[in-house]
């Protein structure tokens, strides 16, 4: 049946119905797809003739099933119909509940169909249960009945399909026992729900016709059983006239109420009980009067017409839905071909799933409560308070506030009088806004702008605060520069025009700056960028280097001065040191400059040979240069002369050192006493000799090696990239130096200094040291030469260096201490004496070494010589020892130690067995990290460490309950 699969909707059908003229031609009816009765090829004549019969039985609903399959796409229609079905179902169920009307098989089936509706589950649970029971009993008998009947060929066909079905769905055998029609519909429904599409069109067709035939048969039965219970119905008319369906629909609606009424009355006729449920039994108020008439006229039966027909109900017609609504309301009969019920197994499963879903939802509602219970730190039973209702919020209280006593009412009255209530305040605000004649948008805009401004200001302020806190000088400098760059001050000229005084001041300041710059030579002709740019010769580079060195020299000298200030008071050489120093400095600088100029001249002369380019090569420059040179030469000569005359200054470069030498006191130990020393006055010695043998100060005891210090070697000859003065002053404090100076005998003190020096001088020097150690002349008092040791032990060997008389290091390190007061020496000496023999550092190193050795993994050879080998003459010693005789002891490699790179500490790598018994292997459950676990012990629980309340709070158990009280399960509070 191709027509059945055609999609159609309610609206089209109703439209058709309206426009169609009343006709009784069968062919036309068939074309109309909306007509449910299209699918009933041949209804028995009786139906048509029995005009008053309306049997809105569920058979018919079922009958409508197949066609409904076609219009799956019209959902709204379906829904509408569902609701309609429900209505009828309620009616029927009511009947069944009373148990007065027997339900037969077909009823059950339809019930099943309705049962599929999940929403009604709860209400109709009981009903369904009973229905199910009835179903189980009666299904069988009915099936038999059906079989008993003379089956038409189509029925036979159906049986076949039945069998098919059975084979298809195993485990549904119970179902299969049922009446053929129901089974068929089951099958159908299965198809529609599952979308299997197993049945083909032919099958469907068969079912359709079969269904109709079934219906036919049952109708026949009906006829037999209750011929007198005939009602005015337009069912038969509908065959001819589909338009009357609307009326019928309305009629069915009315019947629902009718049925209920009847039920309430409790008047049940036995005949009605006997017969299968034909819904409308008792006529409605207006039905008996008008029904026949209306039907005779082939008019549509309308609820409104029914109501209006009765005088008492005439007013009620206004309550009825309008015609347009009626148009929408669709009839079960018209298009509501009810889908066949599912097989009970499937149906049950669906029911269960829906029910479980519901239970799960209910359970989900408890989630919050359960979470709180689980996570609660303390549970105090009873968990739920006796009375419901919690604490009110402030708003709640305020909103419900009513003055209860005199005072309150007085206050309220006052507030009201002053217009200070909430309402009046808001009103006033509104008025104020209105008065400004601003639109709401404008106000908003303005407010936003203001807010933005404020925000910006706030940010700027916070930033300024933050910046003001920064103490870094570099940052300040950079900031200043940046500021200068960003907003450079006015030009001097502009300033002059505007404010001459300020300009003069500014100029003066600039001048002063310039003078200072020149004086400090920071931007001298040799070192400035300009100077660098104009000439790039080798000679010049050399110059520059020298100039730098000179500057460094100067610095050193100054520093030395600073250090030896107190000493200077003793030395008779310079009483007016303060003034003299400056002069000296200036002079030396002058000489430096001269020398540099000389050198430069020489270089220039050389360079002149080449064809140079640039500024200096220009004629006027040359001339000017010559002129200048001359002048300079003159001045130089003058200067030299002066100096010669005064006899205080000598050559340019070497004199510095000489001078130093002079200033340094010469000291000798007296009588082997370290505390007493003889300081020779300023000595004149020949100067720059590297390999100069020192003048050995004569000592009484040879064991105490006290030698006069070597004169300082010129700096050029010391390490080129390292200035020991600088390091010695910066890295090691003066105290150490003094110590060293005091006694070369005091190895300990020397140790320190050498070590500090050692730190500064690295690399090849270290190797040098080692070599020197080898040639050490005297094995001194405490320090035993451990020079055989490897490089690892270099540190240990260090101390010995102190004794080496002619090592450069020593010289370097000893020199800076030259300018010290005697008092200091005495102090140091005393201290040194007090701690004589305390070789702490060395001892520590030894101890550490021992520890490292002890902790290191060991392999001990326990094999006994001679055992397991050939003995006697000529027997070779085994190369490899049997590993089983090698006893290995686990330990920690020296390189793996924690203190490997730290010479000053010993970190024990031993495992503390006693402590280890308190350590855990695994982290206990709720904790996720070690720190977390350890933190849990931070706060002790005991009363010694806590106040009373804290102690009580801390020890409160998780579950607290009143003794002897029943704890009831949680109640549902939502």
């Amino acid at each position: 049946m191709a027509r059945g699969s055609q999609p159609f909707s309610a609206s089209t059908s109703s439209g058709n119905k309206r426009t169609n003229p009343i006709s009784s031609s069968k062919a036309k009816r068939r074309q109309d797809p909306s007509n449910a009765y299209t699918y009933i090829p041949a209804l028995p004549k009786r139906h048509r003739t029995s005009a008053a019969q309306l049997s809105v039985s569920k058979d018919e609903l079922e009958l409508a099933g197949p066609s409904r399959r076609g219009n799956e796409d019209s959902d709204d229609e379906d829904e509408d119909m569902q609701s309609r079905i429900k209505k009828v179902a309620m009616m029927i169920a009511d009947d069944e509940n009373t148990g007065e009307i027997e339900s037969d098989e077909s009823d059950i089936d339809s019930d099943e169909a309705w049962q599929s509706d999940g929403s009604d589950e709860e209400r109709w649970g009981d009903v369904f249960r009973e229905l199910d029971k009835g179903k189980a009993k009666k299904g069988k008998s009915k099936a038999k009945e059906v079989v008993r009947k003379p089956a038409k060929p189509l029925t036979v066909n159906l049986d076949e399909s039945d069998e098919e079905f059975v084979s298809k769905s195993k485990g549904k055998g119970k179902k299969a026992v049922k009446a053929p029609s129901s089974v068929e519909e089951d099958e159908e429904d299965e198809e529609t729900s599952d979308g299997d599409g197993e049945l083909d069109e032919d099958d469907e067709e068969e079912e359709m016709s079969e269904g109709s035939e079934d219906n036919e048969e049952e109708e026949e039965e009906d006829e037999d059983e209750d011929s007198e219970a005939e009602l005015p119905s337009d069912l038969s008319e509908d065959e001819e006239d589909p338009e009357n369906l609307d009326g019928l629909d309305a009629f069915v609606d009315s019947l629902v109420s009718e049925d209920k009424k009847r039920k309430a009355d409790g008047q049940e006729k036995v005949e009605q009980a006997k017969k299968r449920r034909v819904l409308p039994v008792v006529s409605g108020p207006g039905l008996k009067d008008n029904g026949d008439l209306a039907l005779k006229n082939n008019q549509k039966l309308d609820l409104s017409s029914l109501i209006s027909s009765h005088p008492s109900l005439s007013g009620a017609s206004a309550l009825l839905p309008s015609k347009s609504d009626n148009k929408k309301s669709t009839s079960i009969l018209k298009q509501g071909l009810v889908s066949a019920p599912l097989p009970t197994v499937v149906q049950d499963r669906l029911d269960r799933e829906a029910a479980y879903e519901k239970t799960r939802e209910e359970g989900q509602k408890w989630a919050g409560v359960m979470k709180r219970v689980k996570e609660a730190e303390h549970l105090s039973f009873p968990l739920q308070p006796e009375q419901r209702g919690g604490v009110k919020g402030t708003n709640e209280i305020l909103s419900g506030f009513k003055p209860s006593n005199k005072l309150e009412s007085a206050v309220t009255a006052l507030l009201n009088k002053a217009n200070l209530t909430d309402d009046s305040l808001t009103k006033r605000e509104d008025l104020a806004l209105e008065a400004q004649e601003m639109t709401l948008e404008e106000i908003k805009e303005r407010r936003d702008a203001l807010r933005y401004q404020r925000e910006l200001m706030f940010r700027a302020e916070t930033k300024a605060k933050r910046v003001a806190k920064i103490k870094s000088k570099t940052f300040r400098k950079l900031a200043r520069k940046r500021a200068a760059k960003e907003n450079p001050g006015m030009d001097l000229e502009d300033l002059e025009r505007l404010d001459p005084e300020a300009a003069a001041e500014e100029r003066e300041k600039l001048e002063r700056d310039r003078a200072r710059e020149r004086a400090t030579l920071r931007h001298g002709a040799k070192t400035g960028r300009w100077a660098r740019d104009i000439g790039g010769d080798n000679a010049e580079l050399e110059d520059r280097r020298r100039a730098k060195e000179e500057m460094l020299n100067m610095k050193e000298k100054l520093q030395r001065k600073i250090m030896g200030k107190d000493e200077g008071s003793d030395s008779s050489s310079d009483e007016d040191e303060e003034s003299g120093e400056d002069e000296e400095m200036i002079k030396s600088r002058a000489f430096d400059q001269l020398a540099a100029l000389d050198a430069k001249n020489a270089a220039d002369q050389e360079a002149k040979g080449k064809a140079g380019k640039g500024l200096m090569q220009m004629a006027f420059m040359k001339k000017a240069e010559e002129r200048e040179m001359k002048k300079v030469a003159e001045t130089e000569a003058e200067l030299r002369r002066d100096i010669e005359m005064f006899g205080e200054e000598r050559g340019t470069e070497d004199e510095d050192d000489e001078e130093e030498e002079d200033e340094r006191p010469r000291m000798l130990r007296v009588g082997g006493n370290e505390g007493r020393m003889f300081f020779s006055g300023p000595q004149r010695t020949s100067t720059i000799q590297d390999d100069e043998t020192p003048q050995p100060a004569q000592t009484k005891r040879p064991s105490v090696s006290s030698k006069p210090r070597e004169p300082t070697p010129p700096i050029e000859e010391s390490l080129p990239d390292h200035n020991p003065w600088l390091t010695s002053t910066s890295s090691a404090g003066p105290s150490r130096k003094r110590n060293t100076l005091v006694g070369s005998a005091n190895a300990k003190a020397e140790d320190k200094t050498t070590r500090s020096l050692k730190k500064a001088v690295k690399g090849k020097e270290a190797e040098l040291d080692d070599e020197k150690v080898e040639i050490s002349l005297e094995a001194n008092t405490t320090s035993t030469p451990t020079s055989n040791k490897e490089g690892k032990n270099k540190k240990a060997t260090q101390p010995t260096n102190g004794d080496v008389s002619d090592s450069e290091d020593e010289n370097e390190e000893l020199l800076p201490i030259s300018g010290k007061g005697i008092k200091a020496f005495q102090q140091r000496d005393l201290v040194a004496q007090a701690f004589a023999g305390d070789n702490v550092v060395e001892e520590f190193a030894r101890e550490k070494e021992k520890q490292v050795e002890m902790d290191a993994p060991k392999v001990e050879d326990t094999s006994l010589p001679g055992w397991g080998t050939w003995g006697g003459k000529g027997a070779k010693k085994k190369k490899h020892v049997n590993p089983k005789f090698l006893v290995k002891t686990a330990g920690i490699e020296p390189t793996q130690r924690k203190d490997f790179s730290r010479s000053n500490v010993i970190i024990t790598e031993k495992k503390d067995k006693k402590a280890s018994q308190f350590l855990l292997q695994d982290l206990p459950y709720p904790y996720t990290s070690k720190e977390q676990y350890e933190r849990s012990f931070d706060n002790p629980v005991g009363s010694e460490w806590n106040s009373r309340s804290a102690f009580q709070k801390g020890t409160l158990p998780r579950v607290v309950k009143k003794p002897g009280a029943i704890i009831e399960p949680v109640r549902r509070m939502f």
């Binding site: 029910a355 799960r360 549970l379 460490w945 009580q952 020890t955 003794p963 029943i966």
Partner: protein, 511 residues
């Protein structure tokens, strides 16, 4: 002359704390951790020293006791159902039977429960016969000797539950266990004047024999379990289906079954908070969920082994506990039934009964291995194990409604009372002592991860047989695991994946 002012030692006002007589400066109390550890060690030792969980055995049964029915509204009353059909209502305070019903049923008693309300001052007890398939409602004043004014009790939902002392006294003179602390220096004579307790033994026996059930229902099949709705007059029984009955109707209200399954149902229990939901465990290794509102079975899970008992958590309404034949207990969340939320291992025999503590934090289980175990909800190992030489197979256990005691019914015909906390002191405890106890507990809890403390805390002496069985079981499990590992090793990669223990328990979840 020594003179002390009392003001220095008294609080300045009634609400302010007592003045502290010691210096809290931390440098005066060094070594806090070592000291606390030492204290914890002492505390745990004390805990074990005072652990005397057994309170008493309630005798009187001629046969083994196979089911217990606790009255969740009264603290001191419990009914035991014997193997010979005898039902005895015990008073826990008096430690003697209140009433003996010698032939309540023919054959074993399947289950006992109490009605939610009382009629005419008579508390109702419902018993179900395992063999004769009858359900009987008994009402007697002897069940609730304290109730005199019925309006106090009738129809009120847990009028007593919150522990308001006044109500309690009215309700329950027979069973204020916790309040009297089970001290036997309670004056019996005074108590017996209270209600129906002034019966001598002969009289009591006579009363029991002559007691007729108020209502008898008959069922075709034997009943294995029974449970009452929390508030309504509805109860559920377990035979081959789950049936819902009304106290006022003679026929079953409805028959709940999953599909067409007709396997024996072992136990059925109502949820106490989501009161219309109930669950059953069946012989076909299933656990099934029902709702009496829809009248439908909702979901069913099939497990590896049969579950013998079921219990709903009173504070976590979606949590249920299953006592399984495979020696384990399982908790399930009904929102997610495809795997248990926790497995509790420790028994070496099938678990026959289980019950949640009213606090919902702990539960008790009784096993066929003759032990009773106590568990914390959060941990998979048992907190404690109780056993005595004379206790035989345990068939049912229950917590008292005060959560202070645990009752066990065993094969040897006794109902035993145990303390739910083995070392808890019964009777009045001064606040000072209570604080000390709490302090000790806290210390033990804090240091319980440490080996020294843990080893003392966890050590339990169990009978030789159980010890051996535990060892054997461990070996078996281990060897099985090894075998599985080997098999996996020699199979194609990825073919056999190890399955989580929790996933193993449930075979299928049926919709």
């Amino acid at each position: 002359m020594i003179s002390r002012s009392l003001d220095d030692h008294m609080p300045s006002s009634s609400t302010s704390p007592h003045p502290l007589q010691r210096n809290l400066a931390p440098h005066l109390h060094p070594f806090q951790k070592p000291r606390e550890y030492a204290r914890a060690l002492t505390a745990v030792k004390m805990d074990r020293m005072f652990a005397k969980p057994f309170v008493d055995a309630l005798g009187g049964h001629q046969d083994g006791v196979y089911c217990l029915g606790k009255d969740s509204r009264r603290v001191g009353v419990v009914a035991g159902g014997g193997g010979d059909g005898e039902v005895i209502v015990h008073s826990l305070t008096l430690r003697r039977p209140l009433l003996k019903i010698p032939h309540a049923h023919k054959g074993m008693v399947g289950g006992i429960c109490w009605t939610s309300e009382s009629h005419d001052g008579q508390r109702g007890m419902i018993t179900a016969g395992k063999l004769d398939g009858t359900i009987k409602i008994w009402r007697s004043e002897a069940f609730a000797p304290g109730i005199r004014d019925k309006e106090l009790f009738q129809g009120s939902e847990f009028a007593s539950g919150s522990g308001s002392a006044g109500h309690q006294q009215h309700l329950d003179q027979a069973g204020a266990i916790g309040e009297n602390g089970l001290d036997m220096d309670v004056d019996f004579d005074e108590e017996e004047e209270g209600g129906g307790l002034n019966l001598d033994f002969a009289k009591r026996d006579k009363l029991g024999e002559s007691l007729e059930p108020k209502m008898v229902y008959t069922n075709k099949n034997g009943l294995n379990g029974i449970d009452h709705h929390r508030t309504d007059s509805v109860f559920a029984t377990a035979s081959n289906t789950v049936q819902i009955w009304d106290e006022n109707r003679s026929a079953a209200l409805s028959n709940l079954q999953f599909g067409s399954s007709l396997e024996t149902v072992n136990k059925v229990k109502f949820n106490q908070s989501e009161t219309s939901v109930l669950a059953s465990v069946g012989n076909d290794r299933t656990m099934c969920l029902y709702d009496i509102r829809t009248g439908k079975a909702e979901r069913r899970i099939v497990m590896q082994f049969v579950s013998n008992d079921i219990s709903w958590c009173p504070t976590l309404p979606t949590t249920m506990l299953l006592a399984s034949e495979d020696h384990n207990l399982y908790t399930f969340d009904i929102r997610n039934l495809n795997s248990p939320s926790q497995i509790y291992k420790g028994h070496v025999g099938g678990v026959m009964g289980c019950d949640w503590s009213p606090t919902g934090e702990e539960f008790v289980s009784g096993s066929y291995d003759r032990t009773v175990r106590l568990w914390n909800r959060e941990s998979g190992k048992s907190r404690d194990v109780y056993h005595t030489k004379r206790m035989q197979r345990v068939f049912d256990v229950t917590y008292t409604p005060t959560a202070d005691f645990v009752l066990s019914a065993s094969d040897d015909g006794n109902v035993r009372i145990w303390k739910s906390n083995a070392s808890k002191k019964l009777g009045v405890v001064s606040s000072k002592e209570r604080q000390a106890i709490e302090h000790r507990q806290k210390l033990v809890e804090r240091y319980s991860a440490e080996k020294g403390v843990r080893s003392i805390k966890d050590r339990r002496h169990v009978p030789q047989s159980i010890h051996n069985a535990t060892k054997l079981k461990r070996d078996m499990i281990e060897s099985r695991k090894v075998k599985e590992d080997r098999r996996r090793e020699h199979s194609r990669k990825g073919r056999e994946k190890p399955k989580a223990e929790r996933k193993k328990a449930v075979i299928v979840e049926q919709k």
